[in-house]
């Protein structure tokens, strides 16, 4: 095989790698090397490169082990030297952790083995050294279990199969009358180790390896194998990580935070990952292992004094009790804290980003085990980026590149109060169709939603599914919950457009429109009962949870101002109402890119006139109905143009198939017959004649304006009339007209003629051409390209 360096050591302030070698050493390996180079104490260790992972898959285990042996042996000796202990030495044993680490973070996707190097002899040596047999044998049984599962393939293949080790634990617990794992005593833990080993022998036909080097080789190869396990493959597909990146293997000396009261372990962040505040924070436990901090077996304590005081206030604990029982690390271990604080600042300054770090104090000596750019909420993301620009740590462009656009969503919708949410009860789960938080009283019909809303109630509209007729009700509601429909269902699309919270496709809810009840998991909720929706997670809660509204201010606004400084592409909004236009303008929209005129027709009065127009027999009938629609349309356009005063407003002429507007129920058809003075049969025949096999490809777009030119004329009259009136009032309306779905140049030419004729007529009436009329080519995506 090719001669090249495959193992990179680190420790004692030296490292063969560095942070730039992420591709070769993985994120974890590169950062461990880098921490050494900047003088952060890290337990010594070594990293086997990602290239070896690929070689493993090319040449197989045997050849790769042979190729690596010299380098790994030398690296182990290097670690032993720095730690002043030896692999397998009963008096002074070295234990190591073996972890995976790809270029990109793949949390929990691959395997990790801790406490490697233990066997019966070493365990006894550890007991003598630590005087803590429970810790040693608990570590030992965990190691054998982890090793058996990961390296020796004892992990069950099917989800329904029981892990053989868990089965043994349950058996021993039952015999000894023990309820929780942590209550097992030393004898029982020893028994577990023995029985685990017997199970391994029975299942694999081989003895559990006592030789630490044999254990190490097994673990290294298992980490390489875990690169191709099912969940890692799936995760890579989701995140677009190529298979050929491979994983590195990092082997690091174990340090223990549970060797008495001068030992501790913890997790910390250089800034607040929740709200972005520039305040060092974290949790730690004296005399504990890393797992104890996250597992919630003991209550972790705060690292800083201020964090501890805030925590105590929230928990209702007095200052005296806090100091006595839950002191911060700053107070309990002031020297260790001072060192920790200095290093976290050093790491943040070095990486120029908020750091998420893990550390252990072993008998008064601080070790850093890991550092990485910390995951954070949308709010924290924006605040940290803008704070760092002001602190001169990063440039404006870096701030823009650091923020993830999609995460801004969290800042844009009303949000639940976090503490209240924790106490609330989830009653069912649907799809997170439109983010945000909503709570209100249950209603089932659009008109009820409007009526309750008008009377000052906050309502959540619960439907089997929604249709265009429900629009006004959806608008009046705080949120929408539907039993059917996916992420692109009517309810979801419309709700997202409105910025309205929506949970769709909650299949477990049974809606009874007649009784006005909804049954969820056996509980019946009536109209007027309170319910809360989390549109970001799809969770539905019983009762009322307080919310906060979103706004563009502070750091969020500052970031948006920065964006305007560099952007070339302008951002407009899609808006069909003055309210939407105003909301978008407040969020910085530079005009309207699409105003759909069809949604305006769904109001009570307008829909009747609209239906009259569609159901009319001839052009005369249509003209009559259109004359009724004109004032409504003009008023709508005037409101929108006014809300976007001084900015372009692109209005699309009528686009959807007419069939969507006509009544399909007998009641509606009877009403129309009465309204128009014709028979119900005639109406029904006309409705039937409008039905199409493929409405998306049917009589829609400019085809409507071509076959019914009077529609184009009326809409042009309304748009330009509204604009002329505003102009006279001293405003600056900037309408643009979009002729939808142009496929052939002549379609545009014919529509253009109608628009020009009407424009001249309107301008003459309002006294001269006060507006400049621009002919806009159709949007690219409307040019037969609607995706």
């Amino acid at each position: 095989m090719e001669k090249k360096k495959r193992v990179y050591t680190f420790g004692n302030g030296k490292a063969e790698g560095n942070a730039q070698m992420r591709e070769l050493l993985g994120g974890k390996g590169a950062n461990c090397a880098e921490m050494n180079l900047v003088g952060v104490p890290v337990p010594p260790g070594f990293t086997i490169t990602t290239e070896v992972c690929n070689e493993y898959y090319q040449v197989g285990q045997e050849k790769i082990v042979a190729e690596l042996t010299d380098e790994v042996n030398a690296a182990v000796t290097h670690v032993e030297g720095l730690m002043n202990c030896k692999f397998g030495d009963p008096k002074n044993p070295l234990l190591v952790s073996v972890r995976s680490g790809a270029r990109a973070s793949m949390p929990g996707m691959m395997d990790t083995i801790l406490n490697l190097g233990l066997n019966d002899v070493v365990a006894e040596g550890m007991v003598a050294k630590t005087n803590n047999p429970h810790f040693v044998y608990d570590s030992y049984r965990r190691f054998v279990q982890m090793y058996g599962d990961v390296v020796l393939g004892m992990k069950p293949v099917n989800k329904t199969d029981i892990d053989p080790f868990e089965a043994i634990i349950d058996e021993v617990k039952e015999i000894r009358g023990v309820k929780l794992d942590k209550d097992l005593n030393v004898e029982e833990l020893k028994l577990l180790v023995a029985r685990f080993k017997t199970a391994i022998k029975e299942r694999t036909g081989k003895d559990f390896p006592d030789d630490p080097m044999e254990q190490l080789w097994g673990a290294i190869c298992a980490v390489f194998r875990s690169w191709m396990n099912e969940r890692a493959i799936l995760y890579r597909k989701m995140e677009g990580i190529p298979d050929e990146w491979g994983t590195a293997v990092s082997v690091m000396a174990m340090v223990f935070g549970n060797m008495g009261d001068t030992s501790a372990t913890g997790v910390c962040f250089s800034r607040d990952a929740g709200n972005g505040e520039n305040l060092f924070n974290g949790e730690y436990l004296v005399n504990a292992q890393g797992e104890d901090v996250v597992a919630g077996i003991r209550t972790p304590q705060q690292i800083t004094k201020i964090g501890s005081q805030r925590w105590a206030e929230r928990a209702g604990i007095s200052e005296a009790e806090r100091l006595a029982k839950y002191p911060s690390m700053e107070e309990a271990m002031p020297e260790m804290y001072a060192e920790l604080n200095a290093i976290q600042q050093k790491l943040e300054d070095h990486y120029r980003d908020m750091q998420d770090m893990e550390f252990t104090v072993q008998e008064g000596k601080l070790w850093f085990l890991q550092t990485r750019n910390g995951k954070r909420t949308g709010t924290a993301m924006v605040k940290i980026a803008m704070d760092m620009v002001r602190e001169g740590k990063i440039s404006e462009k870096e701030a823009i590149m650091r923020c993830e656009p999609q995460k801004l969503d969290e800042l844009l919708h009303p949000v639940f109060d976090k503490d209240a949410l924790k106490k609330a009860k989830v009653i069912t789960q649907g799809l997170p169709a439109s983010p945000g938080a909503a709570c209100g009283q249950i209603v089932f019909h659009a008109d009820d939603a409007q009526e309750w809303h008008a009377n000052g109630h906050k309502v959540v509209m619960v439907r089997i599914e929604t249709s265009p007729e429900d629009l006004a009700g959806m608008s009046a509601a705080e949120g929408i919950l539907t039993a059917r429909g996916g992420m692109t269902s009517h309810a979801a699309v419309v709700a997202r457009g409105m910025g309205k919270c929506c949970v769709s496709g909650a299949g477990a809810i049974q809606v009874d429109y007649k009784a006005k009840t909804v049954k969820i998991e056996g509980v019946t909720y009536k109209e007027g009962d309170y319910i809360s929706l989390n549109g970001s997670t799809g969770q539905v809660y019983a009762g009322e949870i307080p919310t906060k509204a979103a706004e563009l201010s502070g750091d969020f606004k500052a970031l948006m101002d920065l964006c305007d400084k560099y952007t070339k592409l302008q951002v407009r909004t899609n808006a069909d109402t003055p309210h939407d236009a105003a909301v978008a303008r407040a969020f910085g929209a530079k005009g309207i890119g699409l105003t759909r005129t069809e949604h305006m027709f769904f109001d009570d009065q307008k829909i009747i006139a609209m239906r009259e127009m569609i159901l009319a027999k001839d052009s005369e009938g249509r003209e009559k109905a259109l004359a009724k629609l004109l004032p409504y349309q003009k008023a709508d356009f005037k409101g929108i143009l006014d809300a976007m005063d001084g900015l372009p407003v692109n209005i699309r002429l009528l686009d959807p198939p007419l069939h969507e507007f006509v009544p399909h129920d007998l009641k509606g058809q009877e009403q129309m017959a009465k309204e128009m003075g014709v028979s119900v049969e005639e109406i029904q025949a006309r409705v039937a004649s409008l039905a199409e096999n493929n409405p998306m490809l049917g009589h829609r777009g400019c085809r409507l304006g071509i076959t019914f030119p009077e529609i184009t004329a009326m809409q042009t009259r309304a748009i330009l009339g509204a604009a002329c009136e505003l102009k006279k009032e001293g405003k600056n309306p900037m309408p643009e007209i979009m002729v939808p779905l142009i496929g052939i140049l002549y379609e545009l030419k014919q529509q253009k003629e109608i628009i020009q004729t009407v424009a001249k007529e309107v301008f003459d009436r309002y006294g001269g051409s006060v507006l400049q009329l621009r002919y806009q080519r159709p949007h690219a995506d409307d040019l037969r390209l609607q995706p």
């Binding site: 823009i400 992420m487 592409l569 939407d580 909301v583 890119g593 995706p787």
Partner: protein, 103 residues
């Protein structure tokens, strides 16, 4: 529509397509840059060849989806239009496209 899919009817087969990895993403959420994107690019380029300074824009769900907005910025469109609550998302994505292109 370029795929021959209707947004109203895609729900019956989209989940299977996503699961079987035939489609990586819902094309009604994320602009298909290889197919539809090339048609957009062609429309912008050919349009401007005939009329320099032709204004072009995109509207709909794609106008607020970051990767689609970046694509539109790169092919030289003038604006993207999205629902009000996606405006800041699109503004950030558009600024990122500009910063990335400077490098």
């Amino acid at each position: 529509m370029t795929f021959g899919y209707s947004r109203d009817d895609i729900a019956s087969f989209l989940p299977a397509y996503l699961e079987k990895k035939i489609l990586k993403v819902d094309p009604f959420q994320v602009l298909d840059q290889n197919g539809v994107g090339q048609l957009i690019k062609m429309a912008v380029e050919k349009g401007r060849a005939v009329r320099p300074g032709l204004r072009t824009g995109i509207c709909g769900e794609h106008g607020g989806e970051p990767s689609s907005v970046k694509f539109c910025a790169r092919v030289g469109m003038n604006y993207a239009s999205c629902s009000p609550f996606r405006v800041p998302i699109a503004r950030l994505a558009a600024a990122q496209a500009a910063v990335e292109d400077e490098k």
